[in-house]
């Protein structure tokens, strides 16, 4: 990955994620989030994780965001129901804390910046779906089965929660 490509992608990701949290209308936030997720998927491709990148596009930018947009359209907020962000000192403190977090992370991570512990060694097979499947179905087999159980629980939970009870108004 060239530094230029990383710089452009990082700028896109940060700008669009700021747009997610500052956009007044949720539909704008959702579309910015799709953009963030797609840029992150490109970053995964460049990091030799093509399978994770494809899943990111299919599952996140596809399925999850369609669910979000569907709910936004179902709720259909009017203009006066949208929230306005009032900037007061509490919110300024929150932003200062977040900047302090990034600064602290940058200072702490300086320790590993020049270490040779994380030198990438090139291996053409790395990141192929064959490698991923081998890890997923041997060492992580139990976790994989547990995840399928969690998905089943989430399906049942979502149906039960969103179902209309007897005698309720629509």
């Amino acid at each position: 990955m060239s530094p230029l490509a990383f710089g452009i992608l990082a700028a896109l990701v940060i700008l669009s994620s700021i747009a997610v949290i500052l956009w007044r209308n949720p539909i704008g936030s959702a579309l910015s989030l799709v953009f963030t997720l797609l840029a992150l998927a490109v970053l995964y491709f460049l990091l030799d994780a093509p399978f994770v990148g494809i899943l990111q596009i299919l599952v996140y930018a596809g399925a999850v965001m369609v669910l979000f947009i569907f709910v936004i359209m179902l709720i259909n907020l009017k203009e006066d129901e949208l929230e306005k962000i009032h900037w007061d000192w509490k919110k300024a403190v929150i932003v200062v804390f977040a900047l302090a977090f990034i600064l602290t992370a940058g200072l702490v991570l300086l320790e590993i910046k020049d270490s040779h512990l994380f030198e990438p060694i090139l291996n053409s097979e790395f990141g192929s779906s064959r490698f991923l499947a081998k890890a997923l179905f041997t060492r992580y087999l139990l976790s994989f089965e547990m995840v399928s159980f969690i998905i089943l629980a989430a399906i049942i939970g979502a149906i039960l929660l969103a179902r209309r009870g007897k005698g309720e108004n629509p």
Binding site: P26, L40, Y44, F51, V71, A158, A162
Partner: protein
């Protein structure tokens, strides 16, 4: 290849942005999207460490995180629809039914 440092810094920045969104917004839809942002920041960390230590474990865990995030979004949006049906609002300060 760029150093791992910058990838981790980008991940920290996305996580912080998601956290700010969680703290300053009142619309539950946007709170859920901020949680998705934070989960994606964690995924980016896993994938970059996986790349730089040449081990598949990070990508497998990123796969699990992604699945759980999808489950979380489905259940969270179902709760949101139920709340909206009762309160006619998506503003998190309007939901005070459990206050003693």
């Amino acid at each position: 290849m760029i150093p791992l440092y910058y990838l981790l810094l980008l991940s920290a920045a996305i996580f912080a942005i998601g956290w700010v969104g969680l703290m300053i917004r009142r619309n539950i839809l946007i709170l859920l999207m901020s949680i998705e942002l934070m989960l994606n920041a964690v995924n980016l960390t896993f994938v970059s460490f996986s790349r730089y230590s040449q081990s598949m474990d990070g990508q497998v865990i990123a796969f699990f995180v992604m699945t759980l995030a999808a489950c979380e979004a489905a259940v969270g949006l179902a709760i949101l629809i139920t709340l909206f049906r009762y309160h006619k609002s998506v503003n998190s300060t309007d939901f005070n039914g459990m206050r003693g």
